[in-house]
Symmetry: D2
Subunit: 291 residues, 4 copies
């Protein structure tokens, strides 16, 4: 079984490397080819173009966004050149609409398609400890499971439709962003009453909120430590827009998502777009002139 | 040292009983006197009126809201009859304004005042495992600490001003309510994409959100299990209004609090006021006609 | 018939003067007595205290807010000293709660009470062109009608309950503030696309929005002309809080009111509290760094 | 000079007919050809396909939305077949993005492009009384002005960039929708206080809000008269999404637009998508169970 891995960004690079380390035959492609070449010493072959993946059994797509995915899979002829029976796996967070298109097009070309976006930041990908949210045909998920077991600590299955895992991933990022926003507003409230934000967060995470999301982001928001960047704020906005699109298609009003969309825009207007997305936690402080 | 405990509601009753069990000399008062009498067999003496607390060293006030606290402490003459040097401890969640009034008035009457609202539902109070958020003069908190150690598992100190603990408590309830609202909106989103809400919550609480707040309320929201009632929805609105008041005094805009205020009002208008406050988690589902 | 006029602020002063000009016997009272004395040359007698209104047939209360009204009518003994059959008219914008209290208390003291808040800024009051929103017992409104006809151009009646006119007035200010906020957001949108805001407003007010509210506030927002102050921004917040209180009592969620409450708080935090309330129109521009 | 008019919906049909009445040589095309044929008796020639417009001097595009415009102008080869020097005029409300694409592409093909969306409902189009918001090269607007004078009562120019008129049009619809939402919330507030909504609206439109927008929509909201449909609620959502897109590109947070987006989604979920867009005015009433 040979695998093509398309997209070697912050997340894709360690994921591909873990597959190589586990002994898989992996060909890699990246827009900036020099990045692909860093994996040659680990046993990767470098594809000169996405369409060179034509003979692979499994293609993993881990590209930046809808535009990059559309460009590589459609315009650069991946889907038109793959052999019948090949499995295409999207592991990036892209829109429900594009997942639907891929779900429709792949069978026409005798390809299988499953969706498997991931939870975890770069260091988690590095350690092979991602959580993978998978949906699509069960047999094809079974086919990919050994690869998922190398890249992640657990695979959570969400049914037969590839778009399901997308909705689950977007909903997770929404819950995470909501936690950050709530931390930001509450830190502003306690600071305005002369309480040290770190003391407040220590209490929260020592009681009802003793979870990784609150421990990690709680400390970052309390200390206003928005670098190094785990997930860029502009990507936070991108995900919130994807949440809104997914919700709009089903007539689901999501007022928290609306608030966060507007707050991300304000943060970007204020020059914080390149900080970690948890810099959302400073918007309320700035509005109330605590900063 | 004798203690007067005023207010034996769902929380106050087990708190007072734990003090009795620990061997303290506790006099109790409750609006409905029959409730007070249930503690006689545990060693309590029953006060016929709040002002009968006049000879006590420490008065603990655990009353329903601002109006009840104001009525008992002011109108029913507790503050005017206590002997000099007595310590008044508020353990209820009341407004920053009322805490400020008490902070000003008590010294005029040679009384000490500290504020110590609690985190935890009835069963937690019962087990003596509350988390206590305390603020005010440090020596007076030391004086009360043995009592806090009986009623709670840990005391978190938030500085010299009694209103600080109030802000910290309100901020905590705000973060908790925000988690519930985020769960409600995200469950609506995933359900609209044919995902079972419980599967989604299992993934959340198995990964980034492995905390009591999400495990407890996540299951309730996923299963729409809003009885038995741990904390009534109308009290959720009350707390959100207190959050808004505390924020208004410091010019802190809190858009999530605004969203929740409006959603609580809608839930109450729709007849859900007597359910658990986590029924907030059904507002988005109803709006999008998933229910 | 002799009239006592309590409260000679920006609005009260010209209203009282118009009554004097029309030949009425008017006694006046103001917290700062020197203001009251400026009306002596127009024929007014000056009351040394609100309770000196005891012999008047009609008392008009035009005080700053709930606190001032409560202080003067209750604490300074107006209601306890008036003779039976006297008519108390509130013309200020105060809370539904306080109107209800007055509605209950006045009959106990054999006094009549109606509510008649006004629309219009100082120059409108000066010209006797206010619009008066009146509610309460119809016969008592008839009794006051000659006075209303002197102070205003038209009286709009809203039923038998004094609180009705309060709700109508608050709803009007809400619609007005909403127009200002919509102008602010739309000016930010067009300016971000390199359109001159005044050109945009000229088109709006030349087509669908050819009304005083849009002509006046449209120009102020387009030109960012927030002085001289017709109605202070902090009073805009006060009114929005009264709107929220009135809505809360009836379980009416008002998301626009929530947005504006938060935006007023931000404007005040940013130092704009003493500008005209239409400075609300700059909040979005600041957030998007167009200013 | 011969003109091609593409798109004969509710608005396009009377606009094309007015051009014919004024004596212009107009060829028409519509997806459903029978609609085009109704104009033959008025002197129109019917185009069998959009590309049959190849010899025209001016092409007016009045199509339903981005997709229809893209399909007709791009896929159905209008832009590739027009002769050099022809002028393409978009008069529909489409996205800023598509306007930008047209602005870039047309010069490459030696075509001119201006943008001229309109204000007014069907009966206004019928009477030739539209307000036209135009932007783009001034000489080309001059070239089109005689046609605009036939279709509209006034042309408002918004600068050299075609996208400007789009922003101005979207901002206008945003202000209009905000007025409807404010009317809806305020009617809920006054009705909850037992005031007849029509009495309240009469006062508003008799005082500060004596403008067509408030008179027309005020009566519709007060009386809940959402048929016949002037502008469908689903189109209201479409426009609000275009507003949000235009704002997002410039990092302008628009909280009122966010509220309305969510309220439109709720109205559609509740089955009101085919009513007039002013049915937005019933969302708050339903939430507060006044309906």
């Amino acid at each position: 079984m040979n695998i093509a891995f398309l997209g070697l960004g912050g997340m894709g690079h360690p994921m591909a490397r873990n597959l190589l380390k586990a002994g898989y035959d992996v060909s890699v492609w990246n827009r900036t080819q020099s990045v692909a070449e860093t994996l040659v010493s680990e046993g990767a072959s470098v594809l000169t173009a996405p369409s060179a993946a034509a003979d692979c059994d499994i293609v993993i797509s881990m590209l930046a966004d809808d535009n990059a995915t559309r460009d590589v899979l459609f315009s650069q002829n991946v889907l038109t050149t793959l052999k019948p029976g090949a499995l295409v796996i999207n592991m990036a967070t892209i829109s429900v609409s594009l997942i639907r298109e891929l779900t429709e097009i792949c069978p026409d070309r005798h390809l299988f398609f499953i969706n498997a976006p991931v939870l975890g930041r770069v260091e988690v990908a590095d350690a092979g400890n991602l959580n993978i949210l998978a949906s699509g045909d069960g047999q094809q998920i079974d086919r990919a499971q050994p690869l998922f077991d190398v890249m992640g600590q657990k695979t959570w299955r969400f049914g037969d439709k590839p778009e399901n895992a997308c909705a689950a991933k977007l909903a997770t990022n929404f819950v995470l962003a909501s936690a950050i926003e709530a931390l930001g507003e509450s830190c502003a409230l306690v600071e305005s009453h002369d309480i040290n934000a770190s003391d407040f967060i220590a209490m929260l995470t020592g009681t009802l909120f003793s979870a990784p999301a609150y421990k990690g982001y709680g400390a970052m928001v309390a200390e206003e430590r928005y670098t190094p960047v785990g997930f860029k704020l502009t990507l936070g906005l991108k995900d919130m827009l994807l949440v809104q699109q997914a919700a709009e298609k089903k007539n689901v009003p999501m007022p928290f998502a609306s608030v966060m969309r507007d707050n991300y825009l304000e943060a970007i207007a204020g020059g914080d777009g390149d900080l970690d997305w948890s810099a959302l936690g400073n918007v309320t402080r700035k509005r109330s002139r605590l900063r």
